[in-house]
Symmetry: none
Subunit: 241 residues, 2 copies
């Protein structure tokens, strides 16, 4: 027999992703025993060795645990988190009874290209602070964001964010009491290797790509950002009056 998807994704990986999805959506509950390796092999029409490799990958990530002679058991428990627009990430997550977290990946300097300059009302080439961060609800990554701020208006913003772990608090540090969303663009893509790693998501899962700009109460642009959300963990509600 020979499968030949030629999708560029290894069979064992497809099986692993399938099982992980089963865990994520509750088909396999935490602590429960998975079907036997033979049975999994049959459902995916794949050799048992391929299933073993998939299970090994999941075991290495701590999602399952194999017990010789007995079976393979689910270690993880599934988490799901809604997200609404027009509010603060921290407030949205907090309202859902979860603890919002922000984790800095990298902060650095940058210069404005045409698009960012237009969004922020700056000149092309203007100095920027670029902040890349993961945002989590409890311990589940929700999105990765790249945020750009004017380096003149928000000097040292990278270090500030590293301390406060929140964009609202960062802006408050510079005297911005309130702000709101000026524009939002949404599309979708497939998680690439970088997304997958940062969102702790299997490769090939959909991500929602959101470009947004926030302005202060005088409609002066403050920050513009591009975020990539794990689509299976979020649903956007658009409220047009």
């Amino acid at each position: 027999m020979s499968m030949q998807e030629s999708s560029g994704v290894a069979l064992w990986r497809q099986v692993a992703d399938g099982i992980e999805r089963g865990i994520a959506d509750g088909r396999f509950a935490a602590g429960e025993k998975l079907p036997g390796e033979m049975e999994i092999a049959e459902t995916y029409r794949v050799n048992r060795h391929t299933v073993r490799r998939a299970l090994a990958a999941l075991a290495e990530r701590g999602l399952v645990r194999a017990e010789r002679g007995s079976g393979t058991y689910v270690e993880a428990q599934r988490l799901a988190y809604p997200l609404r627009s027009r509010t603060r990430f921290s407030e949205i997550v907090g309202a859902g009874g979860h603890e919002p977290r922000g984790q800095l990946i990298e902060a650095g300097e940058d210069t404005a290209n045409r698009e960012i300059a237009r969004e922020l009302g700056l000149k092309i080439g203007a100095p920027l602070i670029r902040i890349e961060a993961v945002r989590l609800a409890d311990r589940t990554p929700i999105c990765v964001s790249t945020t750009w701020l004017s380096a003149e208006r928000f000097p040292d913003a990278g270090n500030v964010f590293a301390n406060v772990h929140s964009m609202t608090k960062l802006l408050g540090h510079y005297g911005v009491k309130d702000y709101h969303r000026a524009s939002t663009r949404i599309t979708a893509a497939i998680a690439d290797a970088t997304d997958a790693a940062r969102l702790d998501l299997p490769l090939g899962r959909p991500v929602l790509v959101v470009d947004a700009t926030d302005v202060d109460m005088l409609d002066q642009p403050l920050v513009t950002k591009r975020s990539r959300f794990a689509a299976e963990r979020v649903e956007f509600l658009v409220e047009n009056g």
Copy 2:
């Protein structure tokens, strides 16, 4: 040299994903020439043949086009789709310089489940008209929609739509002069076999799933629908005041 990520995703696929992302986020604009195969190979630290395979995969999906002796060029560009209170498919597509088309797949009767009843302000079990249609810009499918209308208020709506090929015209036929969007919910999923066939999309590509309800000028619900957009062909623009 030997890469050995062991991520279960083939190198050529990682390269293809990287290039696609570059196209999606505008680093490579539509019509523009990509870097040469050798240059791409160097940036990804990969053999030229691996790059060629990645480009072949993108070419097969119509995202790029190779010209011998000259270079490889970006084919795609996304349709800008503003999500305003006034959202008409035909107007949006027309504004982009494309010809809007609607193609009926199937029309039939249905009864309201809890969600649809709530959206349309009907009782559970109320008779409905269900219209499934593909919407295209020129000859490119943009989305498939399932639309529900009250069968009492819009009798024979299926046949009307089959003639006019437009939801705006259909509503006009029943005396609705104007309407607007009451609610929009967006998430993303992976194209299944049905989506793939109707959207002329390869299996496994991302789709944007939009649930929306339109109301008349007195805020009375008219239609509720679920649409599945080919994510790689559209970009939603959200304008919150």
